[in-house]
Amino acid sequence: MAEILMSEAERTFILHGIQDNVRSDGRGCEDYRPIELETEVVSNANGSARVRLANSDVLVGVKGELGKPSLDTPEHGRLEFFVDCSANATPDFEGRGGEDLALEISSMLARAYDCPSCLDTQALGIIKREQCWVLYVDILILECGGNLFDAVAIAVKAALGNTKLPVITVRKDENDETELEISDDPYDCERIKILNAPCIVTLSKVGNQHIVDASLQEESCCLSRLMVAVTENGTITASKTSGSGSLNPESIIDMLESGKRAGTLLNKTLHAKLLEEEVKVGTKKKTMGFLT
């Protein structure tokens, strides 16, 4: 991750602030920074979203393609996550520099979405063993301002919620061969249910306390963090530690609790915002002219 240089005095300042539940930008330990969200930003993708979490900027595009189901789940569609850490974000990502971080993010997302209750992949299946929807979720990191995982997860959830897949009907022709018919009306489309999809909450251990949504400065004071993928009803679909330090078992339990609190709240806020966005964009075909 992008490293920044800080003096010992700055570190102490941040550390003491967190101990008193006042962080350097005035937030409490479990508060998020302001989040900006836009959906349907890329017209060529089936679904897209852009999230700006203070200085972290993430753009996500979802493209649906038809492919073969994987062998162990012949009736299900699948999701493929790709993360591109652009060198625009920080020069450290140039060349192969961002590869490890990209892999860490994409595998965390793949694990978070790999559970039947949070995303119904069976609805993405078309013909058993033959055809299914493969959703390519491409994540582009434009700016790195701390807490990338959370920003990425919000953007992915919003982009999936925004995804419109054309309706496909399977028919048999006279030679008994299966045929796929794709609806050519752009408004005749299927949506993906994302109500139970998870958001990732990163809890960073700074001193004896833990905080959510660490800024770049706070991240450099923290030795170990716990990332939990939380759904709206408070269950955890994936979790993982990261960083060079270790954690006390008791503090992990505390972190799980605050992860649940922050995660459910984040999910609720996101759903409300997505609904608002949906109304603004509209799902109905606008009638124009006399002949339609």
Binding site: L103, S244, L247
Partner: protein, 275 residues
């Protein structure tokens, strides 16, 4: 995908026959008496054999066998870092985790895939907090871990094996690291799952009931003497209380394995002194 041209060519697409056969194990994972298919209790770890110093040329090495899971690890270095831009004042650790091509039910590729890369990173994160990096500045320690046979809980075995190998290499450490896995299927939590238990979801896909119950897998790395958790990795849905419970069970089992590691390291040191 990069293609490896130097090795023997196989057909471009092959399917392991297990995916075509209709065979499904008929016995339940846990029978009425609460015993698992291999006769264990739900919270019982498989019998574990651990040996330090399995590879004579390496600085340190270890071999672990948990029934059908067999993992070998070797440690080389610390060696000088040659590239100037990689220079750091604290020591560096590199970890390469590999499934042998024949180790799993489906054949593994020679080239490291994303799953192996992620597991390498997880193992590195689990081992690094235990190693005193300040003792070998400007140098890099290399850990190579190969799974010879995957009979379930390979990650947990690899973490334990890797830490014993590092200790065997005589590196200064704060503590050894012990890995332990747990598989949650509905209300049942099974410690140290076998491959059957790990892949239970894909076996019973057809019955609809299994979709409703929670299915999760958690692996925890513990440093027992200083009571610190160096890594957790979990997938699958768990409630908060379920996650806490799973964490506690993993930690308890890991603590039980501590004497095995102590004894193994003692033996290795004795053998070295005799030489």
């Amino acid at each position: 995908m990069p293609v490896d041209n130097r090795r023997l060519w196989t057909p471009e697409e092959t399917i392991p026959p297990e995916f075509i056969t209709k065979y499904r194990p008929t016995t339940e994972l846990v029978n009425q008496n609460g015993k698992r298919r291999d006769g264990r209790e739900a919270n019982q770890h498989r019998p574990t054999y651990l040996k330090a110093g399995a590879i004579s040329q390496a600085k340190g090495s270890a071999y672990i066998e948990m029934a059908d899971t067999k993992v070998i690890a070797a440690v080389y270095g610390p060696r000088e870092v040659m590239k100037r831009e990689d220079f750091t004042m604290s020591g560096q650790v590199k970890c390469v985790f590999k499934f042998a091509t024949f180790s799993c039910k489906t054949r593994q590729k020679h080239i490291e895939d994303d799953r192996e890369k992620e597991l390498s990173m997880t193992i590195l994160e689990a081992l690094k907090p235990a190693i005193r990096l300040d003792k070998f500045p400007k140098a890099r320690l290399e850990i190579f871990i190969t799974v010879l046979q995957d009979g379930g809980s390979a990650l947990a075995a690899a973490i334990t094996c890797g830490s014993v190998a590092v200790a065997d290499a005589g590196m200064e450490m704060y503590d050894v690291v012990i890995g332990c896995s747990l598989r949650q299927i509905g209300e049942r939590s099974l410690i140290d799952p076998t491959t059957d238990e790990e892949s239970h979801r894909s076996l019973s896909q057809s019955d609809e009931k299994s979709n409703e119950t929670s299915q999760a897998m958690m692996t925890v790395a513990l440093m027992p003497s200083i009571n610190q958790v160096s890594s957790i990795i979990q997938k699958g849905e768990l409630s908060i209380d379920g996650a806490k419970q799973a964490l506690k069970q993993c930690l308890d089992t890991a603590r039980k394995l501590h004497p095995v590691i102590k004894q193994c390291l003692n033996k290795a040191v004795e053998a070295k002194l005799k030489r």
